[in-house]
């Protein structure tokens, strides 16, 4: 598959809302262990807002759609997740601009811009036990797959695999950003909720593309 269509993007967002609703409890439980027990609730609230705004933009270009998603998240999620995921989608939308279809190059450039936005906003580094631990390896893996001539599916498969690995790698880490950092050593031994939701988002995109 050499193009990711606007339709894919709309289905991604729609499906992501379902996946986050289904994982609301789970993400919240993860956040209960090392945070304040709201990550799933926040993400679910945010994507419900996204869903309510999607109809008004779903026949626009991909950039407009993603920026709308970003704005909806920014104005409804709150907490750390809101600005971070909001920035992720805003930057993704800005990167793709008014396109209706994305090439493999566009796809990787979009994710690169998105994740750089997250890092700029939250100033987390790899290993700080945050969503960056899933996102950054994912982008690097996508880049590598692209360079190796992979198509959309191959790129996303590489990204999801890396995100999953990165997510699981947060377990032994001691958090240095976000609420979990207040736990110090006690934060080790737990999955990071943000890394988990990041993996879910990427995986949902892959599922939509391959379904």
């Amino acid at each position: 598959m050499q193009t990711l269509t606007r339709d894919h993007i709309v289905r991604w967002i729609t499906h992501a809302a379902e996946v986050l609703e289904a994982n609301k409890e789970y993400l919240t439980q993860l956040d209960a262990a090392i945070g304040d027990a709201d990550h799933g609730i926040n993400m679910d609230r945010g994507f419900k807002k996204v869903l309510s705004q999607l109809p008004s933009v779903q026949d626009k270009d991909i950039g407009t759609i993603l920026k709308t998603v970003g704005m909806a998240l920014i104005s409804s999620v709150g907490g750390a997740g809101g600005p971070l995921y909001g920035t992720l989608f805003m930057r993704a939308g800005m990167a793709v601009g008014s396109k209706y279809e994305l090439t493999p190059d566009d796809l990787v450039a979009m994710w690169r811009a998105a994740v750089e936005g997250v890092i700029q906003r939250g100033r987390a580094q790899l290993g700080d036990k945050t969503m960056v631990d899933a996102l950054l390896p994912a982008v690097d893996a996508m880049q590598k797959a692209l360079e190796q001539g992979g198509d959309i599916v191959a790129i996303l498969q590489a990204g999801v695999a890396a995100a999953e690995k990165g997510r699981d790698a947060t377990i032994p880490l001691v958090a240095r950003k976000g609420r979990a950092s207040y736990l110090g050593e006690r934060s080790a031994g737990h999955l990071d909720p943000g890394a988990t939701s990041s993996h879910l988002l990427l995986k949902t995109l892959l599922d939509v593309v391959t379904e």
Binding site: T28, A32, D36, A37, D38, I41, N42, R45, I74, S75, S76, V77, G78, G79, A80, G81, G82, P83, L84, G86, R121, G122, V174, R176, K177, G178, R179, S181, Y182, L183, G184, R186
Partner: protein
């Protein structure tokens, strides 16, 4: 979960409605986006002071909106930072043209959301500065964490900075004062019981029958240690000494540099307490603590301060910055100078704090 609410979804909104109905002379409430603001805003020529954060800490912040304190407060969902559109719309509403100061508690969510709001407001031509409150000595190491959390000093800063704004301080001077209040304030809290976030429905953490958590955060974040129950005097001593003996604390915070037109890193150091210091002392209940118990704590705090050569020149004993129905206490000590004391004594008229009027 048994609470006096109708549903987790409507809780924040209905509580704000109730506050507006109870105090129509003091505050108004705007919904979508949600914020509480002074009934007489914007006040001509006055810098507007805005704060906000997750709900569940009432009376902070909405209860501190009114003459001599906040111009607006932006409440998020329970324990969840508000979103930038709330602060943006609040800034638009209460800005008289003299600019806006955001007082922001140091939690990653609050920091990021307020930064985004400041950028958005500035893009509209509103002058905005952000000052962080990070006073919780329970968080020891700033290198490996988000830094200290913003807790009790927030209340005292809102009062003092609010009074200065009322007196006509300009934005720059107000930000300098707020920063000065922050680096002179230190807090530490403890919990006897957990609290239950309505949307979650079960306690945030579990404490045994005889366990207490020393150094608790205002969202139930874990503290320094979990220990068996101790008498109030010993608990007070643990908290007070952690505060009084806290060494100089240095960290880097992000502030907006108006001359450079960009965010810059600023290094700040809290000077340790010294014998002879004058302080404002707050003994704050976490929401579910009887005030009679808070006075037991204040009693011991008084004697400890005395022994350490600190002079408590003003005090607050009550529920000011809470964690829903959590039982526990937080102590805040703020080193003050003549200017701060004068500003403290200035009239204030808000739903939760009132004197001189």
């Amino acid at each position: 979960m048994k609470k006096l609410i109708n549903s987790p979804e409507t809780f924040v909104k209905e509580s704000l409605e109730g506050m507006a109905l109870a105090h129509p002379d003091l505050v108004k409430v705007h919904f979508d986006p949600n914020f509480v603001y002074r009934a007489d805003a914007p006040v001509a020529g006055k810098v507007a002071v805005i704060s906000g954060g997750g709900s569940g800490h009432e009376p902070m912040h909405g209860g501190f909106v009114g003459r001599g304190m906040l111009d607006a407060a932006c409440p998020g969902e329970v324990f969840t930072s508000p979103t930038p559109d709330q602060m943006l719309e609040a800034a638009r509403t209460v800005n008289s043209g003299a600019g806006v100061l955001f007082l922001v508690k140091n939690y990653s969510g609050d920091v990021m959301n307020f930064e985004m709001a400041a950028d958005l407001a500035r893009a509209e031509g509103i002058r905005v500065l952000n000052i962080l409150i990070d006073d919780d000595v329970a968080v020891k190491d700033s290198l490996y964490t988000q830094g200290r959390r913003g807790t009790g000093t927030t209340v005292l800063a809102e009062k003092i900075v609010g009074a200065a704004a009322e007196r006509g301080y300009d934005l720059k001077r107000l930000a300098d004062l707020a920063r000065r209040v922050n680096i002179n304030g230190r807090s530490m809290g403890m919990a006897l019981t957990s609290c239950t976030v309505p949307a979650k429905g079960t306690p945030t953490f579990e404490l045994g029958e005889n366990e207490i958590e020393i150094g608790i955060g205002i969202h139930g974040e874990p503290g320094r240690e979990r220990i068996p129950w101790k008498p109030a005097d010993e608990i007070t001593e643990m908290l007070a000494l952690s505060i009084i003996e806290d060494p100089a604390y240095t960290r880097t915070v992000r502030e907006f540099d108006e001359e450079k037109g960009e965010w810059v890193d600023v290094e700040l150091t809290d000077p340790p307490f010294q014998p002879g210091d004058r302080v404002i002392a707050m003994v704050n209940g976490m929401g579910g603590t009887p005030i009679a118990e808070l006075y037991v704590v204040y009693r011991k705090l008084h004697f400890i301060a005395e022994a350490k050569g600190l002079k408590i020149v003003r005090n607050l004993v009550g529920n000011y910055i809470t964690s829903l129905e959590m039982q526990g206490v937080m102590i805040t000590l703020l080193r003050v100078d003549d200017e701060m004391i004068e500003l403290w004594d200035d009239p204030v008229h808000t739903p939760a704090l009132r004197w001189g009027v």
